[in-house]
Amino acid sequence: MGAYILRRLLTSLPLLLGVTLLLFCIMHLMPGGPLAAYTQNPRVRPEDLEKIKHIMGLDQPLYMQYLYWLRSLLTGNLGNSLFTGQAVTEMIASFLPNTLVLMGTSFIVSLAIGVFLGVMSAVKQYTAFDFGVTTFAFIGYSLPVFWFGVMLLLLFAAQLKWLPSGGVHDLGETGLLDLIEHLVLPVTMLSIVSVASWSRYMRSSMLEVIRQEYVRTARAKGLDEFRVIGRHAFRNALVPVVTIIALALPGIFGGAIMTETIFAWPGIGRLFFDSLGRSDYPVIMAILTISAALVVVSNILADIAYAALDPRIRYD
C-alpha cells in the first residue's frame, strides 16, 4: 500500500508539471499579457514599460520564464501581486481559511444529507419518499446553481430578511452564531448539487448491495433491520461512493467562485475572480496551480480510499 501511494505520488508529478506548463502557455498566449495593468496607465511611459518588462523577466524567452517561475514555485515563492504588491502566498493564506470554512461545512452537510437520502431512498425503493428524492436529484442536476443562489438571496435575505445577504461576519461581530447565520445560504447553494448527485450514487450502490447474499445471510441470522442496513449493507455500499466524493472535492472548490461572488464571501474563489478583473497574473497562476494540485491529490485520495476500504482490491 505504502509503495502504491508513493508510486502514485511520483507519477502524478509529471502530470502536475505538464499542467503548470499548459497553464503557463495559456496565460502567456492570451492577449493583454501581464503588463496590461501598466499599458492602460497613461502615466507609464514606453521606456518605463521596457524597464518593467526587464525587471519581471518578460524579455526572456518563454521557456526561461517558465523555468524561473518553476524555480521560485519550488522554493515556496509564488511571486507578488501586480495589484497590491503583497506576496501571493500571504494573500492566499489570508483568503484560504474562509474558503476552507465554506467548503468544509458544505462538504460535511452534503455528505450527511446526500448519504442519508441515498440510503433511505434505496431502503424505501419505489415509495413516495424514493420518488421525491429521485425528482429532487433530477432537479439538482439541471439547476443553474448561480440562479439557485440568487433565489436564496432574494427570498431569505432581500424579501424575508431572515438571514444576512453576504460576508463572513456582521460588522463588529466575531461569534460562532453570527458565522453560522452567514454560512446558511452559501452552504445551501454550494451543497445542492453534491447532495443531488451523491444521493443518486448512494442509492444505486445501496440497491446493488442489498441484493447481495451476505445481506440475506445477515437477515437470515435474525439480525434486526437496522443492523442489517447500518452495519452490513451501508458500509459496503459506501465504498464506491467514497471515490465519487473524493473526485468531487475540486468541484466544490470551483463552485466556490460562484458562491463567493454571490454572497460576497472573501475567499479564494472571490480572490481569483477579482484578480482576473485586474489581470493580476501571479495570483491567477498561483490559484490555478493550487487547484490543479488539489485535483491530482483528490484523484490519488480516491484511489487510496478505494483500496483501503475494499479488501478485495489490491494494488501491487
Binding site: I26, S291, V296
Partner: protein
C-alpha cells in the same frame, strides 16, 4: 434524432435494411420514455418560441422612454419591463436564441474535438494514445469554470476577426471557449469505444482487403460508436447552456445589450428589492431548457442502447 438516423441509413454502402429499420426501432423505444417525449415537446416549444417569438412581440424602441417606470407586468408586457423599458418576455425569448445557439455550437465543437482526439488515440494506440490521454488528463486537472473564466476574461471585448459584427463575434468566441474546454469527456468515451471496436472481426476484415486508417475510422469505427457519442452530445448541449449562462452571469460571457439568460439574471440582481420577479424568469428558462435536454438525452440513451432489446 430523426435526421441523424436518416443520414445513417442514407449512407452509401449501408448494409441491407433489417426487418425493422434502426431509425424506426430507436423512435419506437424513444416514444416509450414518457418524460423524454414530454421534454421533446417542451424543447420544441422553447426553440420555436425563441426563434419566431420575438417577431410577434413589441420591439424595443430606444426613443420611447414612457415605459421606464412601468416595471410591473401588464397586458402589453405580460412579464413586465426591465429598467430600460424593454419588454422582458421579448428579451427572454431573444436571449433564448442566443443561449441555444451558443450551447448548441459549443457542444458540437466540443464533441468534434473530443471525437477527433478520442478516435486518433483509440485507433493508433501506443505513444499517440499515451500523449493524447496525458493531454486529456492535464485539461481535466484545471477546474472547468476557472479555465473558462481565464479564457473568456482575456479575450473579452477583443475583435478577433475583421468585418464581422462584434456582437456575432462574442457569441462565436464564447462558443469556441466552451467547446475547447469541454471535449475531454467525449475524448475518453470515444477512445474507449474504439479500443473495444478495433479488436472486432469486421475491422480485421476491412484491414485484410486493404482498408486505410482514415477509411476504417470514418466508415467503420465512428458509425459504430455513434450512439454513445450522440447521447453525450445531447447532454453536452445542456451543460454548455449552463456554462454560458454562468459565464454571462459573472459578466465574463455575453455582454449586454445582447441579452443572455445569464446576463439578464445578473442585471435583475440589482433590482432585487423592487422587482424580484425579474430574477426568477431567466433561471426558469435555463432550468426548463436544460431539464428537457437532460431527459431527452436519457431517453436517447435507452433508445439507442443495442443491448436493451425489447
Amino acid at each position: 434524432m430523426a435526421t441523424a438516423t436518416a443520414s445513417r441509413d442514407a449512407r452509401p454502402g449501408a448494409t441491407l435494411p433489417p426487418p425493422e429499420s434502426f431509425g424506426a426501432m430507436v423512435l419506437r423505444r424513444f416514444l416509450k420514455h414518457r418524460l423524454a417525449v414530454a421534454s421533446t415537446v417542451m424543447l420544441v416549444v422553447l426553440v420555436l418560441g425563441s426563434v419566431i417569438g420575438p417577431w410577434f412581440l413589441p420591439a424595443y424602441d430606444a426613443q420611447d422612454l414612457s415605459n421606464t417606470n412601468q416595471l410591473v407586468p401588464t397586458l402589453a408586457h405580460p412579464l413586465g419591463t426591465d429598467e430600460l423599458g424593454q419588454d422582458v418576455l421579448a428579451r427572454l425569448l431573444y436571449a433564448g436564441r442566443i443561449s441555444l445557439f451558443v450551447g448548441l455550437s459549443a457542444a458540437v465543437l466540443g464533441v468534434l474535438i473530443g471525437t477527433l482526439i478520442g478516435a486518433i488515440t483509440g485507433y493508433f494506440g501506443k505513444w499517440i494514445d499515451t500523449l493524447g490521454m496525458r493531454m486529456t488528463d492535464m485539461f481535466l486537472c484545471i477546474p472547468l469554470l476557472m479555465l473558462l473564466l481565464v479564457l473568456s476574461n482575456f479575450t473579452r471585448g477583443k475583435t478577433l476577426v475583421p468585418f464581422i459584427a462584434p456582437e456575432l463575434q462574442q457569441l462565436a468566441l464564447i462558443a469556441v471557449i466552451i467547446g475547447a474546454s469541454s471535449w475531454m469527456g467525449v475524448a475518453r468515451l470515444v477512445r474507449g469505444e474504439f479500443l473495444s471496436l478495433r479488436e472486432q472481426e469486421f475491422i480485421e476484415a476491412s484491414l485484410s482487403v486493404g482498408g486505410k486508417s482514415a477509411w476504417i475510422i470514418t466508415r467503420h469505427l465512428i458509425p459504430n460508436a455513434m450512439a454513445p457519442i450522440f447521447v453525450a452530445a445531447t447532454l453536452q448541449v445542456g451543460e454548455a447552456i449552463i456554462l454560458e449562462s454562468g459565464l454571462s452571469f459573472l459578466g465574463m460571457g455575453i455582454q449586454p445589450p445582447v441579452p443572455s439568460w445569464g446576463n439578464m439574471l445578473s442585471n435583475a440582481q440589482q433590482y432585487m428589492i423592487a422587482t424580484p420577479w425579474l430574477a426568477v424568469y431567466p433561471g426558469i428558462m435555463i432550468f426548463l431548457t436544460v431539464v428537457s435536454i437532460n431527459f431527452i438525452g436519457d431517453g436517447l440513451r435507452d433508445a439507442l442502447d443495442p443491448k436493451l432489446k425489447s
